[in-house]
């Protein structure tokens, strides 16, 4: 196995895998994880495929609106069998308004999770970004629900494959109440997710790497590894506080956050 920071895929492999992932994302079908065919695939290979995917979407006119940190809680890492967090990009095509009906026709097997989202007012450049740097660069925070949807059969994957699939990013809903970070204890915010009126997941924001801003710092540092930065105006999701809950047509989700209000949506 190669070190995780080493590229093993050729340019042709990267383009081919990218097309495979793009097809699965666009037409909503499940594919075997990429490492079945490329067992030596590294994390760097995964990000190479993801970057190619981003390039292609932006060339098609999608707008990059921000980033997401994924696999940031111990529970999530165990659930998915991986041991480091990951990042993915967010475009305008993935955004859905609060209180809307989200179509499941173009999703494979989506799951919803509660997150604290950050909106940046300053550029953030890694490496070496800290929690304090993140808080200093934040315009405001708000509650969000991320709808993840792995394009891999059975939601089964390894880190290289999930990164190539853009961290399972599918849809996101920001809402609730915007707040200044100085007015909150971002470590102890309680969260409850309800599905069809029943509580299905609970936690507090420390579940995300001890403090959600740590996840944003980690994200900025991974971007720096790729020669990029987090620009002012970015919308950034810090990772699931609760486990991800499967949804089906007819389900209604409400995420309730201490101090930040709630975010709701239904699936059709």
């Amino acid at each position: 196995m190669s070190p995780s920071n080493e590229l093993t895929l050729s340019r042709e492999d990267i383009v081919r895998l990218c097309e495979r992932v793009e097809g699965a994302q666009t037409r909503a079908y499940a594919i075997p994880k990429l490492t079945d065919e490329y067992p030596a695939m590294t994390i760097a290979d995964g990000y190479a495929v993801q970057s190619e995917l981003r390039r292609r979407y932006l060339a098609q006119g999608h707008r990059l609106v921000g980033w997401k940190a994924g696999l940031t809680s111990k529970a999530k890492m165990q659930q998915m069998g991986v041991d480091v967090p990951s990042i993915g990009f967010l475009t305008d095509r993935m955004a859905r308004p609060e209180s809307s009906a989200i179509s499941m026709a173009d999703l494979v097997h989506p799951r919803a999770e509660c997150e604290v989202a950050f909106v940046m007012k300053k550029d953030l450049h890694g490496p070496g970004c800290t929690r304090e740097d993140v808080l200093d660069a934040t315009d405001y925070v708000l509650p969000a629900v991320e709808i993840i949807d792995s394009r891999y059969s059975g939601f089964k994957f390894d880190l290289a494959s999930v990164i190539a699939d853009n961290g399972s990013s599918a849809r996101f809903v920001g809402g609730g109440r915007a707040r200044y970070v100085e007015e909150l204890d971002l470590r102890t915010l309680g969260v409850v997710m309800e599905k069809n009126g029943e509580m299905v997941a609970m936690g507090a924001s420390a579940a995300v790497l001890g403090h959600p801003a740590e996840a944003i710092a980690m994200l900025a540092n991974i971007l720096a590894d790729m020669g990029e930065h987090l620009p002012a105006g970015s919308f950034v999701m810090s990772g699931g506080i609760t486990e991800a809950i499967p949804v089906k047509p007819g389900d209604s989700i409400v995420a309730r956050f201490q101090e930040l209000g709630s975010v709701s949506m239904r699936f059709v």
């Binding site: 102890t188 309680g190 409850v192 936690g203 420390a206």
Partner: protein, 265 residues
């Protein structure tokens, strides 16, 4: 169950508590024991502790989360009595030698300024009657061998209450979202688990209302000044010599507890 057997089992649990040892599950020996019998055994056990010099200072609510209710096959919480011998102050080091098979859980405690008389008490009445809330740890302990409890065993054994520690940061439930306040539990400086008030019966105030109504039906008073531990918002944490736990309730504050020595089991 006749009065003689109630006394016998209550006395047996009192002796087990005093001598720091466990007894076989009661339900294994008395398959027909009812929940009502179990509460009568609890009252006998507590009567013995009061006769031995302790005072009743409050109540604890247990079995408040859905996973624990599913595990025990019940649809409602249970309760036990807090006595003066169970009280520890924040900053105390708890001697595990005084316990049998302890585990810690993080909770929100209520202190009442008015009596609550059920039945008919709602969560709104609870907020009105509350003087303040504080973060706390309950150290649960079981006098039943290997924690092999069914609901009747734990109820008879005073809802598996061991000792408890109240934090010092008092909050007004009118200024704090007790339902959505996060609970962060750290063990020896590392994040252990997180939770939220809603894990307890949808809100800790619902659990206290349930208790007021249940006590009302049993004719047990629920008095101003009493401490009520409203139910666990965390996972159960086994504790050993040298462990330090901190729980933090979002918007309220923390409670810290240290342990030394060895428990009986």
């Amino acid at each position: 169950m006749n009065e003689e057997k109630i006394r016998q089992y209550g006395d047996e649990l009192f002796d087990a508590w005093r001598e720091r040892r466990t007894v076989a599950p009661l339900l294994e020996r008395e398959p027909d024991i009812t929940l009502d019998d179990a509460y009568r055994i609890q009252l006998r056990y507590i009567e013995r502790r009061v006769q031995a010099g302790e005072k009743i200072v409050g109540k604890k609510i247990g079995v408040t989360s859905k996973p624990v209710q599913d595990f025990l096959g019940v649809f409602q919480p249970d309760f036990g009595q807090l006595t003066s011998g169970m009280v520890h102050q924040e900053g105390d080091v708890i001697d595990l030698g005084s316990l049998i098979q302890p585990k810690a859980e993080a909770e929100l405690a209520f202190v009442l300024k008015h009596d609550l008389q059920g039945p008919g008490v709602t969560a709104m009445d609870v907020i009105r009657a509350t003087d303040y809330v504080v973060p706390c740890f309950e150290i649960v302990d079981s006098r039943i061998t290997d924690w092999k409890i069914r609901i009747q065993d734990t109820v008879a054994d005073n809802a598996s209450c061991g000792v408890y520690v109240l934090g010092k940061t008092k909050g007004d439930p009118r200024k704090l979202d007790i339902t959505l306040a996060g609970m962060v539990l750290e063990k020896n400086g590392e994040l252990h688990s997180t939770g939220v008030g809603a894990a307890v019966q949808g809100s800790p105030a619902n659990a206290v209302a349930w208790l007021a109504n249940t006590l009302g039906e049993l004719g047990i008073p629920f008095k101003a000044g009493e401490v009520i531990l409203s139910g666990s918002q965390s996972a159960l944490v086994p504790v050993v010599d040298g462990d330090e736990l901190v729980c933090t309730v979002g918007g309220l504050g923390s409670c810290r507890v240290k342990f030394s020595g060895r428990s009986a089991v």
